[in-house]
Symmetry: C2
DNA sequence: ATAAATAGTTATACTTTTGTAACCATTTTC
DNA sequence: GAAAATGGTTACAAAAGTATAACTATTTAT
């Protein structure tokens, strides 16, 4: 009765809401049980893997995370020797962060480790279905990251706290 | 150097790992700020929306959630009059749970509310891209739920705690 | 040169999630 | 019919996520 008049956007959201717990279920549990990191720190690591170098504020902005949390995650990652601070010579307020060589390697390994269960599940699929899923996952990721990170590349709008 | 020899499964996982924080960012914040439920309880609600009636154990199984947590979430949802217990006449140990009429309506409304931000982001896309995203999201959801819930429909394997 | 704005940190409090252990009631097994 | 297994609840502890206020250091604006 309510579902009969759904727009494309409604349907997209409906599906994304269903995908969310499936990913949470599979990934968060592995992150906790198999790595020394918590999901939040791993998100930070992931965004640094995609972006050569980011300032503390930019990280918080892209992950919708207040600055104090970014500090905590970076402290954690530095203690694990996975990232390092790079001071900005032009503006000494800014502290940039980037992955260390060790961090890059570790991130790849962590991805391996946390995906063990999911890998087993994916092995149930034949090649055709795998290619179909890969194609779909790429599209979802590309479009979502495109529309969701836009404001972070602009000037204002991301100075919440 | 590490990425040169990736299988299809590796690439799928790589993309899913990137999608995960994008969804978490958008959905969890809205759930917390705009509803009286927490993400966990909403997951339970979502799975009951997809399945007419489930026992406590089945819920925990499908969400990889230990039984005591299921009890807590259901207590919460019952206090909000969104679900009700249905006692099994054949086995008085089993307690089934299903959405109330109010629960069904509320779930639809909650979906509306928590997707406000995402809806705004999606509005940036033209119709072609929207259709493309919908198609991809459906595929990801369908295939993931297919391979991940399999063990829960079988007998054993899901009696962890 | 002073005031305002920006980048980041420290500290604190609270909620949620997660992991167990111990327990009761019921059913199944032998 | 006693023992074992199953379904669920209660109770507690620890880890992680979340929100904010107050602070320092630096830069920008007037």
């Amino acid at each position: 009765m309510i579902t009969q008049n759904m727009t494309t956007i409604d349907k997209i959201i409906e599906n994304l809401i269903s995908i969310h717990p499936l990913l949470t279920k599979n990934l968060n549990r592995s992150i906790r049980s198999k790595t020394s990191l918590n999901p939040g720190s791993l998100f930070v690591l992931g965004i640094l893997n995609k972006n050569e170098m980011l300032s503390m504020s930019e990280i918080g902005c892209r992950l919708s995370m207040p600055k104090p949390h970014v500090t905590a995650h970076i402290d954690k990652l530095i203690s694990e020797e996975m990232v390092e601070r790079v001071f900005d010579p032009n503006d000494r307020r800014i502290i940039n962060v980037k992955l260390t060589e060790n961090g890059k390697k570790s991130f790849q390994q962590i991805k391996e480790v946390i995906s063990t269960e999911m890998r087993q599940n994916l092995n149930k699929l034949d090649n055709t279905r795998l290619e179909e899923l890969l194609d779909a996952a790429i599209r979802v990721r590309t479009i979502l990251s495109e529309i969701m990170t836009e404001n972070s590349t602009n000037t204002g709008s991301c100075n919440k706290i």
